[in-house]
Amino acid sequence: MRPRRIVSDFKVTARGYLRNSAAIFFSLIFPVILIGIFGLIFSSSGSLPTLYVLNADHNSAASRQFLATLNATHAVSVSLVNGETPQGFSDYLQSQQYSAGLVIPAGFGTAYAAHDPVQLPLYVNPGDQATSGAAEAAVGSAVTAFNLHAANGSLIVSAAMSEIGGRTYTYVDYLVPGLIGFSILTSPMFAMTEVTATYRKEGLFRQLSLTPLTRAEWLTSKIMWYTALTLAAAAIMISMGYFLLGARFIISWEILPFLLLGPFLFVSLGMLSGSIAKTPETAAIVGNIITFPMMFLAGTFFPVSSFPPFLQTIAHLLPLYYVIDGLSAVMLFGNNVRALVDLVVVLVIAIVIFIGAVLAFRWREE
């Protein structure tokens, strides 16, 4: 291993990459676009689902009190609807594509004061579980409070709820480690699969084999380059998430091992899939078969814990899962024990794949 040769090959690799606008777009700009798009789409999911309320009894103190109680649940945000009739309210909700609506019927205040039974029609769209569930919970708890008050009773048992870890996690918080994982996976995998297969076909490896450059030196410079690229992409995504999307995470040196081992793993895996395929075309297919499941199922765009159980099982078989899980453990939960376990798993997989890649990779033929 001669440093001069590694550095020189690194320079050639870097220049070639930086002069290739498609590669730059894919490795540095595309993740930024993804984080922007996903962040914008889902940042609104941090706010409360809306419950549309038609108050047909707006002169009564009881109806205003009921609305205040609904608001106090903090489960929904109440939006008043004017100019609709209770009979046409269901059609109105459908035409506006609203998922939850409540009618406070005329005479609600009078009935409540007289202790006469009264029903509040609640309309929900079962397809939108988040909104309809929140609406049912909010209305249910407001109704219970009113009933208790009417009976002069008070709550005996209640739950004291607080957020896990003493803080609220938003989708964007999960998105940043996931997309760093996405970038650790895709840049080296796609590029190395193609490079390995194309260089072999075009005789570039044979050309290099006629120089003192060794396979190990060549591979080292590629790992160095994709590590540098990963560090740059991670820095961009962390600052974007932090400053533009308001994501909150712990920045500590424990992130680094993942940013170093991840590229090592996927440069090797890309080289392996490029080496076992006979042509650049089949290499692309092999690369995609390996890459695509990881791109979506390893926790890149959504936390694996939100998956159905069988998909969670699949996710645990994907090497990228342990990279992203480790990054999340460090950045979101400060759980370094869990991160260490993930790191060991990544290290073992990386070493096995690296050895396989070196064995499958040939400069020259018999």
Binding site: R2, R4, R5, V7, S8, D9, K11, V12, R15, G16, R19, N20, E202, G203, L204, R206, Q207, S209, L210, T211, P212, L213, R364, E365, E366
Partner: protein
């Protein structure tokens, strides 16, 4: 330098039942240009790659600069330069950077300017490789193969597919390599190229060397005698045949007279002047390597067809 740069004996390369190279033998003295000719698929590239250490051999003995190319490839590669057929390199690299890169790999000081000037590529020193023409790419390959100041240069069809000007530029570089005292191993299927550049020529066909020697020796031993060709008809042919002891043929409006010496030519012209048939335009015909090559390959194929037909 003295002795042989390349020594090959009993070299065989088999791919399953096919013998791509079938027991060939030759030596290349240091400092010579050796042209290796043959039709496509004859075994040229396989042999070249075995010499370069890119491919293992099935059997036989091969020494390049005294080294076994397959087992001692690392040592050998520091001392030889190779340009493969259709040189390809990193798409986005500039020729100047490529030469610096090779200088780093070989741990040698390089001067990209002078090297690129030498192969007539200085004007493209800072262009991306994928924007270069076929000839310019080949020139970069040539420049890179010289970075380590090689003792032996292998050029595998360096001019195939190039325009006449680019070919001439590459020939000039090859002449310069020889003038530097380097050994050049050149494969080509342009016979003209071999005739112009080579000290020695070997023609390989179906994995066997069928003709070997200097271009002059091959033409002398394999070629037909030189011929005086007159643009004239059968009348002159009959007159010359009657008055001279040389073979005379008449065909397609020209008359060929086989001669061996300048004195023979003098006798032909003397006889012509007494014929009263005027003095037609004339040329001297001599077999080129190309004609000998086409005939030698053709005869071998005919022989194979006959032996297969008889079996």
């Amino acid at each position: 330098m003295a002795g042989n740069a390349i020594e090959v004996s009993g070299l065989t390369k088999a791919y399953g039942p096919l013998r791509a190279v079938d027991g060939i033998e030759f030596t290349v003295p240091a400092g010579q240009v050796f042209a290796f000719l043959g039709p496509n698929g004859a075994g040229k590239t396989t042999t070249t790659e075995i010499l370069e250490g890119l491919r293992n051999r099935t059997s036989g003995n091969v020494r390049v600069l005294g080294l076994d190319p397959w087992k001692e490839g690392d040592e050998l590669h520091r001392r030889i330069g190779v340009i493969p057929q259709e040189f390809k390199f990193f798409e986005k690299i500039h020729p100047r950077e490529a030469i610096d890169y090779y200088g780093d790999l070989f741990d040698r000081p390089v001067d990209p300017e002078s090297l690129l000037k030498r192969v007539y590529l200085l004007d493209k020193a800072d262009s991306k490789f994928d924007t270069l023409s076929g000839g310019q790419k080949q020139k970069l390959g040539l420049a890179l193969s010289l970075v380590n100041n090689p003792e032996v240069c292998f050029l595998d069809e360096p001019t195939t597919g190039l325009d006449p000007q680019a070919r001439r530029a590459i020939w000039e570089v090859i002449r310069q390599l020889k003038a530097d005292g380097r050994t050049v191993f050149l494969t080509t299927h342009y016979l003209e190229e071999a005739q112009l550049l080579a000290d020695q020529v070997a023609i390989i066909h179906h994995g066997r060397i069928i003709v070997r020697g200097t271009p002059g020796e091959i033409v002398a031993s394999r070629g037909r005698p030189d011929r005086l060709r007159f643009e004239s008809g059968p009348e002159l042919a009959r007159y010359l045949a009657a008055h001279l002891p040389f073979a005379v043929t008449s065909e397609d409006g020209h008359v060929d007279v086989e001669i061996a010496t300048p004195a023979d030519a003098q006798r032909v012209f003397d006889t012509m002047s007494t014929s009263g048939l005027g003095t037609p335009r004339f040329t001297v015909q001599r077999d080129s390597l190309e004609e000998i090559f086409v005939r030698a390959v053709g005869q071998m194929d005919d022989g194979l067809l006959k032996s297969e037909g008889g079996a």
